[in-house]
């Protein structure tokens, strides 16, 4: 029996979908069988980020309403052994599915997969309630911005109220240089406000934009700090004690990263 992990944030645009794709691909690279579920009905894009859009036949709503079997809707990602996607419907809205149906789908997927990772829509309404319904654990993604942190706090409260205790935090798009200059909240500030455990910190990386546009998860890249951060997050999900990336003095990699960002 596998485990369902919901990836949520409250605020939109902080990188939930990118995190879902990369954490899922990372777990698959580590040899696990992973199903990614796009719960963002009506605004689906996990399929785009994964480059699987053109292979969608059935979707989550079809499964919930019994128009097809779960297996028919699952898309296998040929680049990552063991990675599958259950896409969202594009033409319906959040009310097309209810929490009970989501719970059943997650339950069924868990029989087959080691990890079921649900990409939650932004907001705290029906879509959020659907996405968290079948979850065993939660990962909250935030960026080092006051508004994103505030929304993350709100969502952590709602998760706890729903019995998803001790969600783990991913801080995305951190810019070490701005932190150094005192222009961006640092990791300590964010943890101090949110009072949750940190799962990982992903530095800002332009190559993420390129990778999402191309539909190729960055996690397999060898010379990207963001990719390394996502790989580390996947390993921590498995329970491995991986130290945080040193974004400040990680000689070679950071120099390369700075060059890529045009800062060196």
């Amino acid at each position: 029996m596998g485990e369902t992990i919901v990836i949520t944030s409250g605020k939109g645009g902080v990188g939930k979908t990118t995190a879902t794709a990369n954490i899922g691909a990372g777990l698959a690279l580590l040899g696990h069988k992973v199903a990614l579920v796009d719960a963002d009905i009506g605004l689906r894009n996990l399929d785009v980020v994964l480059g699987l859009e053109n292979r969608i036949v059935y979707d989550l709503v079809d499964v919930a309403h019994g128009h097809c079997r779960l297996k028919q809707a699952l898309i296998r990602d040929k680049r990552f052994e063991g990675l599958y996607l259950l896409p969202a419907a594009q033409t319906k809205d959040k009310t097309a599915v209810n929490p009970e149906q989501m719970r059943e789908i997650c339950q069924e997927l868990k029989k087959e997969f080691d990890y079921v990772i649900v990409d939650c829509p932004a907001g705290i309404e029906q879509g959020f309630r659907n996405a968290i319904a079948g979850a065993d654990r939660a990962i909250v993604v935030t960026t080092p911005e006051v508004a994103a942190v505030r929304d993350a706090d709100r969502v952590i409260g709602l998760l706890e109220a729903a019995g998803l205790n001790e969600p783990k935090l991913v801080i995305n798009r951190l810019r070490p240089k701005m932190v150094r200059q005192g222009d961006m909240m640092d990791i300590e500030d964010i943890l101090d406000i949110l009072a949750v455990d940190l799962l990982g910190v992903v530095p800002e990386d332009e190559r993420i934009i390129v990778s999402t546009n191309r539909g190729e998860p960055i996690v397999q890249e060898r010379n990207s700090l963001a990719a390394e951060a996502f790989r580390n997050i996947s390993r921590r999900i498995l329970g491995e004690p991986v130290p945080l990336l040193d974004l400040e003095s990680n000689g070679n990699l950071l120099v390369r990263l700075r060059k890529m960002l045009g800062l060196g």
Partner: protein
């Protein structure tokens, strides 16, 4: 003592001589004399107030003041009702009685409310609100909104390990948030404004 129609109490403002109802002027004078005789010299130089518990005409007041002044006491005037002594003898508001213990962080969008006192073992995050009829004690960081004495109890206080609320009020009186985070602070109402003071001033 009160059976004699006279009682004397020391207060911050000076001695207060209570003139009980149901006695006439002569009885008061007689008993006062006895009191002051028996404590001869002890009240010398003390300031005193009169607190008559029935109508006291001006000429009667004058007679009493004259009598008391003969023993070296200095008259300040009538006791004003509602000052220190009067408030102290009021029954304690029920808000002092019970305490609600909340053992978790209070996160954005959440409101924790207690009819009486509230103790939060955890942080109060920005966007969260804690309120109580009595005092609010936060064993953690206080960064949200806080309202103590929300039903008008002016003796309520707010205490936090780290004090940086976005908004605070005691008994409906609000104050601007402190400019920076303070450590171990107690906020209390002093007249019409909120005073912030260190929780342990001698440390």
């Amino acid at each position: 003592m009160s059976r004699s129609g006279i009682s004397i109490k020391g207060t911050r403002e000076g001695l207060v001589i209570f003139l009980d109802a149901g006695y006439d002027l002569e009885e008061w004078k007689q008993n006062l004399k006895r009191h002051l005789e028996s404590a001869r010299g002890f009240f010398q130089g003390a300031r005193f107030l009169l607190h008559p518990r029935r109508e006291l005409p001006a000429e009667q007041e004058k007679e009493i003041v004259e009598l008391v002044s003969r023993y070296g006491l200095i008259y300040l005037g009538r006791k004003k009702v509602g000052t220190a002594l009067a408030t102290r003898t009021q029954p304690r508001p029920p808000a002092e009685a019970n305490t609600h213990l909340y053992r978790s962080h209070v996160r954005a969008g959440q409101i924790v409310s207690a009819a009486e006192n509230l103790v939060v073992v955890g942080d109060v995050h920005p966007g969260a609100r804690v309120e109580a009829g009595g005092s609010v004690i936060v064993c953690g960081n206080l960064r949200g909104e806080v309202a103590a004495g929300k039903d008008g109890n002016p003796s309520a206080v707010i205490v936090a390990y780290r004090f940086a609320p976005l908004r605070l009020s005691i008994a409906g009186v609000s104050a601007p948030p402190p400019p920076s985070s303070l450590v171990m602070v107690k906020a209390r109402l002093e007249g019409k404004s909120i005073l912030l003071e260190p929780l342990f001033p001698h440390r």
